[in-house]
C-alpha cells in the first residue's frame, strides 16, 4: 500500500532537501509514499556525491595554496593581525626559512610582551578595548562589553532585527563548545543579568539573531575579561 504521490509531496520534498525540519506527520507522509522514498534516497546519494566532489575540490585548492609562494600582501596582513592578536609592538618573522633558535627567541619576546600587555591593561584601571577581541557579524554594528572591562552591568548590541525575529544570548567558558548560560528569545538589544548570576573572570558571549522563520540571521561575539574586586 502506498499513498498517491501528489503536489503536496513535492512541496515537502523541497523543504526536506533544503534542510528544513519537517513535522512528524509530514515525515510520515513522505515515508508512506514509494515515489518519495525513492526520490529521497536518490537525493541523498546525489548530495553525498556533491559533497565528496566538493571535498576533493577543496583539498586540491588548499594544497595549491599551501605550496604557493607567500605574497607580500599576506606577509603584511599577517604582521598586522599578529599585532592585534598577540599585542606585539614589533612585527616579526616570515613563516618559512627561520632558524629554530630565532623562533624560540622571538616566541619568548612575544610571550613576554603579551603578558606585559595584559598586566598593563588590567593594572591601569582603564578599560582598553582590544579590537581583536570581538567579531561583529553581518548586520551587527555594536557589541559591548568586549575585551578588558572593570565592571559588567548590561550587555548591549546594535542590529536591525528581521520582522518576527528574536535574539538568543550564549555565554561560554574559554575553550568550551557548549554555553554555560543562555538567554532564550528576546527582542531587545540589551540584556541585564540577574545579580545572582556570577559571571566568570574570562568568558565569551555571543548574540545570535534569528528571523521570523527561526532561520539564523547573523551573529556576533566577544571575549570579556573582568575583575570582580
Amino acid at each position: 500500500m502506498s499513498a498517491t504521490h501528489d503536489h503536496s509531496h513535492e512541496v515537502l520534498l523541497q523543504r526536506w532537501a533544503t534542510g528544513e525540519r519537517l513535522e512528524t506527520d509530514e515525515e510520515a507522509r513522505l515515508r508512506d509514499c514509494e515515489t518519495c522514498r525513492e526520490r529521497m534516497s536518490e537525493v541523498e546519494k546525489l548530495v553525498g556525491e556533491l559533497e565528496q566532489l566538493g571535498r576533493e575540490d577543496l583539498d586540491e585548492e588548499l594544497q595549491e595554496a599551501l605550496e604557493a609562494d607567500v605574497p607580500d600582501f599576506e606577509r603584511r596582513a599577517v604582521q598586522r593581525a599578529e599585532r592585534k592578536i598577540f599585542g606585539e609592538r614589533t612585527a616579526t618573522r616570515s613563516p618559512s626559512g627561520v632558524r629554530g633558535w630565532q623562533l624560540l627567541a622571538a616566541a619568548l619576546v612575544l610571550v613576554a610582551s603579551f603578558v606585559a600587555y595584559r598586566s598593563w591593561s588590567r593594572d591601569d584601571g582603564v578599560a582598553p578595548v582590544e579590537d581583536s577581541l570581538f567579531y561583529l557579524g553581518e548586520g551587527f554594528t555594536e557589541l559591548a562589553p568586549a575585551g578588558f572591562t572593570e565592571h559588567i552591568d548590561t550587555f548591549r548590541w546594535e542590529h536591525a532585527l528581521a520582522p518576527g525575529g528574536y535574539y538568543e544570548l550564549r555565554f561560554y567558558l574559554p575553550g568550551a563548545q557548549d554555553p554555560f548560560y543562555t538567554v532564550p528569545e528576546t527582542t531587545e538589544t540589551r540584556w541585564t543579568p540577574d545579580p545572582e548570576l556570577v559571571l566568570p573572570d574570562h568568558f565569551r558571549w555571543e548574540v545570535r539573531a534569528y528571523d521570523g522563520l527561526d532561520e539564523p540571521d547573523g551573529s556576533a561575539d566577544a571575549e570579556v575579561s573582568h575583575s570582580r574586586d
Binding site: 523541497q14 532537501a17 533544503t18 534542510g19 536518490e42 537525493v43 546525489l46 548530495v47 556525491e49 556533491l50 559533497e51 566532489l53 566538493g54 576533493e56 575540490d57 577543496l58 583539498d59 586540491e60 585548492e61 588548499l62 594544497q63 595549491e64 595554496a65 599551501l66 604557493a68 607567500v70 605574497p71 607580500d72 600582501f73 599576506e74 603584511r76 596582513a77 599577517v78 598586522r80 593581525a81 599578529e82 592585534k84 592578536i85 598577540f86 613563516p95 616566541a107 612575544l110 603579551f114 581583536s132 577581541l133 570581538f134 567579531y135 553581518e138 561560554y172 574559554p174 575553550g175 568550551a176 563548545q177 565569551r204 522563520l213 532561520e215 539564523p216 540571521d217 561575539d221 571575549e223
Partner: protein, 190 residues
Amino acid sequence: MTKHPDPTEDQILVQDAVSGDEDARRELFRRIQFVGRLLQARNNRMGRPLDSAELEDLVQDILLVAWNKIASFPPEATIEAWAYRIAAFELLNALRRKGRRSRFVDIEAVQEPESRPSVRAELLEGRGLGRFLRHLAEREAEIVRLRHVEGLTFQELAGALEISASSAKTHYYRGLEKLRQIFSDGEEVR
C-alpha cells in the same frame, strides 16, 4: 593524494590555544596564514577584482575573524578546511561590497566559454564539481557550489548573493532536481 592533517590533533591544538597555551596559539596562527595564498589564487582566477591593498585588508580581517571564532571550531574539522570556509565567506562578502559578486564562482567561466576559453578548458578537465555543475543554470550552479564546497548555510549564501533565503532554496532545489534526473537516467556522476 593530499596530505591530511589529523582532525584529532587539530582539535587538541585548538583546545590548547583557547586555554591560553602560547605555543599552541602561535602554531594555530601560523596554520591559518595560508588564506592569503588561497585568496590570491582565487582572485587571479576571477580576473583580479581585488587589488593587493584590498587583499591585504581582507586577509587581516579573515585572520581576526578566524581567531575570534576559535572557540566554535567544529569537531572533526581540520584547521585548514575551517579557515578555508571562513575565507571563502569573507571573500564573497568583500566582492559583494565591491559590486563584483557576479564573478565569484568558477562555474561562471564555464558559462562564458568565448570570453575565457583557457579557464573553461581548465575547469572542464580539472576540478570535479565544476565539471559536474555545467549541467545547471549559472545561479543554480553557484548556489550548489557555495552550499557543498564552501559549506555555507542558505542564510549565509543568500545574504552574500543578496537574495532571500527562500529564493536561494528554490534555485538550489531546482539545480538538485536537474542533477538528480540526469543521473538517475543512468549517467554516472564522475
